[in-house]
């Protein structure tokens, strides 16, 4: 589930989170966000990512991951293999993200050093993903109907592109508990319905997270951000930073159903 959603994040499904009220160019905020949500992100994908974790003293730690993902009618499946650093090479992580909210998502982790696959409980969605500044909620994406939306500004330029600026607030305490977010302001590119910037107020510790999607290209017919960045700040000071760099991606390639099995985790690719 997590990895499937991670891929969605990387293909900007993460950014389909919020919609808003207000009318602009004949569209309500909700309509705009619905379009963002509906944007085609591919049926399956094979991608290579570099995850860079940076501390407040600008020290970096790098991890490389290969991800396979596929969307089914009732579930999104993904499996991730750690390629580096050497001591975690071969570690794999698999998740099934069920469409039905009544069914709990499934996750497995394989640690080659222990030669053992273990099921992993669904973690707190507002918790850190792999030690990064992205949360599981960031990765999984939010439900459109969980938020109230408001158009803050009808035009603002980000990286030379015209954007709508939208504020979203959770509808209830459950949403806050699930996402860990109190409020966010996001910039949506008008031409491709793509969220390129987000400023998020976090409930825990009154932190502010700054998201940016950069180097956006159309790959295999899918608009894709090749760099995703999340910076956590507190009191306007940097706490930690994470950058996900997309090294390669192939959409709609032939991802076998059999890859999403625990035996594959142990056996490797």
């Amino acid at each position: 589930m997590i990895t499937t959603k991670l891929l969605k994040l990387f293909t900007s499904v993460l950014l389909l989170i919020f919609s808003f009220s207000g009318i602009l160019y004949g569209s309500s905020a909700l309509e705009i966000m619905t379009k963002v949500d509906a944007r085609y992100t591919g049926d399956s994908a094979i991608s290579d990512w570099r995850m860079i974790l940076i501390d407040k003293k600008d020290r970096k730690r790098i991890r490389e991951i290969e991800i396979f993902s596929k969307e089914y009618n009732d579930v999104d499946k993904s499996i991730s293999f750690f390629k580096s650093p050497g001591d975690v090479k071969g570690t794999s992580y698999m998740s099934y993200n069920w469409e039905s909210t009544s069914k709990e998502d499934d996750s497995w982790l394989y640690l080659p050093a222990l030669q053992k696959v273990n099921r992993i409980a669904s973690a707190d969605r507002s918790g850190s993903f792999m030690g990064s500044d992205f949360t599981y909620s960031d990765i999984d994406g939010f439900e459109l109907e969980d938020f109230n939306y408001k158009l803050v500004k009808d035009s603002d330029v980000v990286d030379g592109k015209d954007c709508w600026v939208i504020e979203s607030t959770p509808k209830n305490k459950n949403v806050i508990a699930k996402t860990g977010y109190l409020r966010s302001i996001q910039w949506v590119r008008k031409d491709i319905y793509f969220v390129v910037k987000n400023r998020i107020l976090v409930k825990k510790g009154k932190k502010v997270k700054l998201f940016a999607a950069k180097d956006i290209q159309k790959i295999d017919g899918v608009w894709t951000a090749k760099t995703l960045q999340m910076i956590t700040t507190k009191n306007k000071k940097l706490v930690h930073k994470s950058i996900f760099q997309l090294k390669s991606v192939k959409y709609n390639s032939n991802v076998e159903d059999s890859i999403f099995e625990t035996e594959v985790m142990q056996r490797g690719l």
Binding site: D87, V88, I120, A123, G131, K204
Partner: protein, 781 residues
């Protein structure tokens, strides 16, 4: 020289208006300095150390690798009516305080029951869950509390660290942001917390919340000292007004000394601002010290002035004459006081060095105004109050100083013998002096902060932690050292070795988390509460831990490059010397038992104790330097080894005796004593200088020993007694303080000045009668 003094005296009084205008301009410049370079406070931990000091280097390395090591601690105890802390109201309170702290701008991380997460096997799945998932459901479902209680009973990582084994005590630890050379953020977070507790009415609900940790101690120190100086200085001023009124019985006598005090205080503040030296807990005492030095000097000037006026001189002539009489002794008294303060520069402590720089200027500034603006101002007071005249002619002080020469002559041998006994006693006292302190002794025992510190010490085996920064350069040089099983095994053994020490509490380390994660990944089998077997396993368990999304990110326990570990252990309270010996012994044992590990002890507690050790060493060295330099000054002033020795011994005996008495009374010397030693050394000799100078002047003018003694005691004795009364009562105000170093300044100063007064009034005259007078003169007497 005499001619120069006379010319100077005439010049000052002839140009008295210009002198007063120049003084006014100087004050304006000083005020401009204060406005241009506003004074800043600095009461941080690291401000005490010189750049490059090994303690500072280790502390900075700790900050660099792991971030802040400063924790604000809230201790929660179960109410008498409650079984343990697992009560609805108590848990809600813990969550509210934890959330408040977590949201605070300077808090980086919070550890508490409400934030506690455990990694375990959940029906065949590895899970990291909150102890209590939703506090809002707590009231609806009593089983949540029972479950939490049962879980915590078996949580090795939390027991005796976050919660005690009997479940009656728990603590909230908030890691606060580290800001070099700053204390204001600590004050803010503690005040915000205190206000929050008050607003929520926890105390009314029967909770006795304890506060602890470096930010709390820092806040208490600065707040208490600021508050106290806020009322102590006006109190001292009021007392001085009253004493001046009683002694001089004139409005001028009550107000004119403040010309010297105010101008000196403004000038030294301007100088401090210009030099960019911050206000610290040490130099905060400069204002009262300026008041006392300024007052002591001004009283001599006033006494001389009124004495000359009583003798029939008009205001202008009396002003000229007083400069002639006092220029040299006041110069030397101020010089010796300045030397006393300068001697503090030999310590290794930065704020004490800064104090020495500014304090050394104060007597010189006081001298400047006492011999310029003050006589210039006095020369305008042409009217001599009748009461003052009668006081100077036959007041009780006059009668007493008239009585002294005969008394001293009659009992000279007894007094001298008594003095010698005291000298021997003081030398013995020095050998018994114990220079020591600890954080508990910095606050009065009845204060909440002291009680809270004792609570944490008793409940968690230590109110403060020692941090061990552990790495290995010998065996492991590869990247990611902390993943090496051999290294982790040794670290685990080191942890056990330290925890087995009776004075060391339970540590918090990465190996603990690794063991817990491995156990969880192995179906919670207790046999797998062990360290990883391979480097890869460590890396993968850490990845598993991170991936489970815990709030505890281990960033304060392992460095970013994974080459260093931090181990935190509480250590029971002990005196600085005992602590330093204990830590050194531990270090040497660690070196011997774990030769491949580099374990560096550091943290705020180690820094604090190192500071105390430097203070201890500073007391001896600064006092020795002070004594040497002042002795040289005396020999130059009196151009005689004999008179130099006669003058200095009565000034030294009280200081040594006070130190000895303190030890006999079971009191250790501390930072306050360091300042007292240097300050009293400089000020106590002032009386000797005035006394012996006037005696020598009379002798040079042809008086025999007895006549010279009469003149010295009559002319200088009045001012000496007056200043001593002011100093003793003035410093006694410090006895009402809450900070022990401040109380000690008051106690020791008062005792020393009182003993010094007796030395000057009785011992010096008796010795002079014995050593300076020939038989013929003595028979005449």
């Amino acid at each position: 020289m005499e001619s120069l003094t006379s010319k100077y005296a005439v010049f000052i009084i002839s140009n008295r208006i210009k002198v007063l205008i120049a003084t006014f301009l100087l004050i304006m410049i000083a005020i401009a300095m204060i406005i241009s370079y506003p004074l800043k406070h600095n009461n941080s931990n690291e401000m005490w150390f010189l750049p490059g000091d090994p303690n500072l280097v280790a502390f900075e390395k700790l900050q660099d690798l792991f971030g802040s090591s400063e924790y604000l601690i809230v201790g929660v105890t179960a109410r008498d009516k409650d079984k343990d802390i697992f009560e609805y109201e108590t848990l809600i309170m813990i969550d509210e305080i934890s959330t408040m702290l977590e949201d605070h701008e300077i808090v980086e991380q919070v550890r508490s029951l409400s934030k506690y997460q455990r990694t375990y096997d959940k029906n065949g799945m590895v899970a990291t869950d909150d102890l209590i998932e939703d506090f809002e459901e707590l009231g609806d479902d009593p089983t949540i509390i029972d479950n939490a209680r049962n879980i915590m009973k078996g949580e090795e990582l939390a027991l005796d660290s976050i919660i005690t084994s009997d479940l009656k005590h728990t603590r909230i630890l908030a890691r606060t942001e580290y800001r070099a050379n700053d204390n204001s953020h600590k004050i803010k977070v503690v005040n915000d917390l205190r206000n929050f507790i008050k607003e929520k009415g926890y105390l009314d609900k029967g909770y006795d919340l304890k506060l602890g940790g470096v930010p709390y101690i820092g806040e208490r120190f600065e707040t208490i000292s600021n508050t106290e100086f806020g009322w102590m200085i006006p109190t001292q001023a009021a007392i001085m007004f009253i004493i001046l009124g009683i002694i001089f019985k004139s409005i001028a006598g009550m107000f004119v000394p403040w010309v010297v005090i105010a101008t000196s205080a403004i000038t030294f503040s301007g100088l401090q601002a210009f030099l960019g030296l911050p206000i610290t807990v040490v130099n905060q005492s400069l204002t009262p010290i300026t008041m006392l030095i300024g007052m002591a000097t001004a009283v001599h000037v006033l006494s001389e002035f009124y004495g000359l006026r009583t003798a029939g001189l008009n205001a202008k002539d009396a002003s000229v004459k007083l400069i002639k009489n006092l220029l040299k002794p006041i110069f030397f008294t101020c010089l010796t006081t300045s030397i006393g303060f300068s001697a503090l520069y030999v310590t290794k402590l930065v704020p004490v060095k800064e104090f020495a720089i500014i304090a050394a200027f104060i007597p010189l500034i006081v001298f400047l105004f006492s011999m310029t603006a003050l006589p210039a101002a006095l020369s305008f007071f042409s009217k001599m109050p009748k009461w003052t005249t009668s006081t100077f002619k036959d007041g009780w002080l006059t009668k007493f100083t008239n009585f002294l020469p005969d008394f001293n002559f009659k009992y000279r041998k007894i007094i001298a013998s008594l003095g010698c006994v005291l000298l021997i006693l003081s030398i013995y006292g020095v050998s018994q002096i114990n220079v020591d302190t600890n954080i508990f002794k910095y606050f009065r025992s009845d204060l909440k902060v002291t009680k809270d510190l004792i609570y944490f010490d008793n409940t968690y085996k230590g109110a403060a932690n020692v941090e061990y920064l552990v790495t290995s350069e010998e065996k492991f040089t590869d990247d990611g050292l902390i993943k090496e099983p051999e290294f982790l095994k040794e670290v685990g053994e080191l942890e056990k070795f330290l925890e087995d020490k009776p004075d060391v509490g339970k540590g918090l380390t990465v190996p603990d988390f690794l063991k817990q994660t491995r156990q969880a990944f192995s179906g919670d089998d207790p046999n797998y509460f062990i360290l990883p077997d391979t480097k890869e396993m460590t890396a993968q368990l850490l990845l598993l831990y991170e991936n489970s999304g815990p709030e505890e990110d281990l960033s304060d326990l392992k460095d970013f490059d994974e080459k260093n570990l931090r181990m935190t252990f509480p250590i029971t309270n002990m005196d600085a010397s005992e602590f330093n010996v204990f830590v050194r012994k531990l270090n040497s044992e660690i070196k011997e038992k774990f030769p491949s590990l580099n374990a560096l002890a550091t943290g705020p507690m180690v820094m604090f104790q190192a500071q105390n050790e430097y203070t201890d060493k500073g007391i001896t060295s600064s006092f020795s330097v002070s004594l040497l330099l002042i002795s040289i000054t005396f020999f130059i002033l009196f151009r005689s080894v004999k008179f130099g020795a006669i003058a200095i011994i009565p000034s030294v005996i009280p200081i040594l005796l006070a130190g000895g008495i303190a030890t006999v009374m079971g009191r250790d010397l501390n930072l306050g004593s360091l300042i007292v030693g240097a300050m009293t050394m400089g000020i106590a000799v002032d009386d000797s200088i005035h006394m012996v100078s006037r005696y020598r002047l009379a002798r040079l003018e042809g008086s025999n020993v007895h006549q010279a003694m009469k003149r010295a005691l009559n002319e200088s004795g009045r001012a000496i007694i007056t200043t001593s009364i002011i100093l003793v009562i003035g410093f006694s105000v410090f006895l009402m303080a809450s900070l022990v170093p401040t109380i000690d300044i008051g106690r020791f100063s008062a005792i020393i000045f009182l003993l010094a007064l007796f030395g000057v009034l009785f011992f010096i005259p008796s010795i002079l009668y014995i050593l300076d007078g020939n038989k013929e003169e003595l028979q005449t007497a």
